[in-house]
Symmetry: C2
Subunit: 338 residues, 2 copies
């Protein structure tokens, strides 16, 4: 299935197809110099499979995890492109999860002021969320995604077969974003996830999630308005994530917890069993005050006001600007009732 | 005088007005947090004047010269924005020449994936050329402008009065770009420069140069075609520049020398006295072969072919793709006849 993202001259196709990884050359222009960026948590066979489809590929494997979304890693990859003599007509391909896509995407956006970028996401989280929409970035000063660009890929290749090697926890990590999108935009998807084993309806879950994200990104490429709904659960979620030390919760687990206080008690009563069933956490552990404090340093804050997304009916959303202190108080209250 | 650059939602005004620096708040939205980037070669009073117009300004003064267009400097400025708590609605202002504009522009383009950027160029070179068009970048691995973005400023403020403090050589440095633009696009401007003392007609020289650049950038924002004409004189020019050690020739001096072999003998006979009169060099010193070799590593090369701009009649241009070896031979031949 092909979804076309309508973004004027920056529009591109997202191809969702089992086995697409092995047919990359049919869908991407790999008849040029190609820098493939992957990480050491991704089965190496995926990058190698793509490399075999290229005329002239260089594979760079970075360390798994946020640590690779650094200025140092960005600089190293740009230098590698330079040393390998990459020109404006060559390209970068990300083969991996969100970290690899964000890093490789920002490198592609910046090298020679932008060369072609293809994304082949290999985690459910990146397949349903981060691989489309054109947000690329690295971290700095302990803050995630603070330096980056809006840079659309030329094409995204999604092969659900790669998910078969993914640990259960990583599947749950991705499902959190699908649940998030269902909560704000697709009551039928939410009901499907409540009713079926997600692994059995995975292609449908991915497709419906992509359609939601496509619709939002098309209407608001640069996060001026509607795109905020994709942040549902992410404000407190980022606070939870920022408070983690090593081996803490995954992004999706933080988002799952971040959604709970942002919906009504009735919806929370449906959300809790769904989170539990797909292996996501349902109760927050750790220092809530620290999390709230970290959350209030988010990009979504202006002065004493924070832009938040609430769900009062599944499949729809309410955007509101709230006083940070009121928002914190509401969260304390909602969580104490869990 | 206001020139509006038509670039859909990225369009912006260029204001050319004597004394505009002191009235910055009338033209720019400075009622927010403002990071002013300048360098230690710019009279500090300029940045201070702008700072006085701001509600809440931070001035960062970087070292003068290309050395500041580094990843380290880029990182330091982004960290500063973060530490000062800049949000998406705050802005960056460049007060200085091309180095400051390129560096500050790339910081503004990247911080939080892009915040507002204003440019107040204080050298003739940046007033007529680098401050408009949206090309921002830093250097890496000894290669200029290899990492950057196309990122348009929100407004450009050009105050010709600041040129009064500029050394003669810096005026000549800027005039080289005006001469370049006249050569490819404006025979009347070329004749004016031949006829008058440039200092006496400076506002006209700046305005006509800006109109040429505006016209080119509007038609080709991302350097896909026409914009190549702005590279007239720059291919060999970059080779000359790259071969320089410290205290070598200025960019404009290299461009002046780079134009000579790219026009016909008859035009060269008019160009030489003009360059000489405005204080630009007319004969190349150093190792031509090294310069040609360095030039052939340019972004404008694809395989064995180089995209070049030639002038066969003043005010017009010829774009051609040539075999690098043929291009080198032509330059050797043209320069040996000087």
């Amino acid at each position: 299935m092909v979804l076309h993202l309508e973004l004027q001259e920056r529009g591109y196709d997202i191809l969702l197809e089992r086995g697409a990884l092995g047919r990359a050359a049919d869908y991407l222009n790999l008849n040029r110099r190609v820098l493939i960026v992957t990480d050491d948590g991704v089965p190496p066979i995926y990058a190698q499979t793509v490399a075999r489809s290229c005329r002239d590929a260089v594979i760079v494997t970075v360390e798994q995890g946020e640590v690779s979304k650094s200025v140092a890693c960005f600089e190293r990859l740009c230098l590698r492109l330079l040393q390998e003599g990459f020109t404006r007509t060559d390209c970068v391909v990300a083969v991996g999860g969100g970290v690899v896509g964000d890093l490789a995407g920002f490198v592609a956006a910046s090298y020679m002021r932008g060369i072609d970028f293809y994304n082949i996401p290999t985690t459910l989280l990146s397949q349903v969320d981060s691989s489309i929409g054109g947000k690329v970035a690295i971290n700095l000063g302990g803050v995630k995604n603070i330096v980056g660009a809006f840079y659309q890929p030329k094409r995204v290749l999604i092969d659900p077969e790669v998910l078969s090697t993914l640990p259960t926890l990583q599947i749950a990590n991705g499902l959190a974003e699908s649940i998030k999108m269902a909560m704000t935009s697709d009551a039928d998807l939410f009901a499907l996830l409540e009713r079926e084993d997600p692994m059995k309806v995975m292609d449908t879950v991915i497709e419906r999630s992509l359609r939601i994200k496509k619709n939002v990104v098309e209407q608001d490429e640069r996060e001026a308005g509607l795109r905020k709904i994709l942040n549902f659960g992410h404000t407190l979620g980022h606070g939870i994530e920022a408070s983690q030390t090593e081996n803490g919760l995954y992004h999706g687990e933080c988002v799952a917890l971040g959604m709970l206080p942002m919906c009504t008690p009735a919806i929370r009563a449906r959300l809790l069993p769904l989170l539990s069933r797909v292996g996501l956490p349902t109760s927050l552990e750790g220092d809530l005050e620290e999390m709230l404090e970290l959350a209030s340093h988010d990009k979504k804050c202006k002065g004493s006001v924070i832009s938040v997304v609430r769900v009062e009916e599944i499949g729809s959303f309410v955007l509101s600007d709230e006083e940070i202190e009121d928002w914190k108080a509401g969260i304390r209250s909602a969580l104490s009732k869990n």
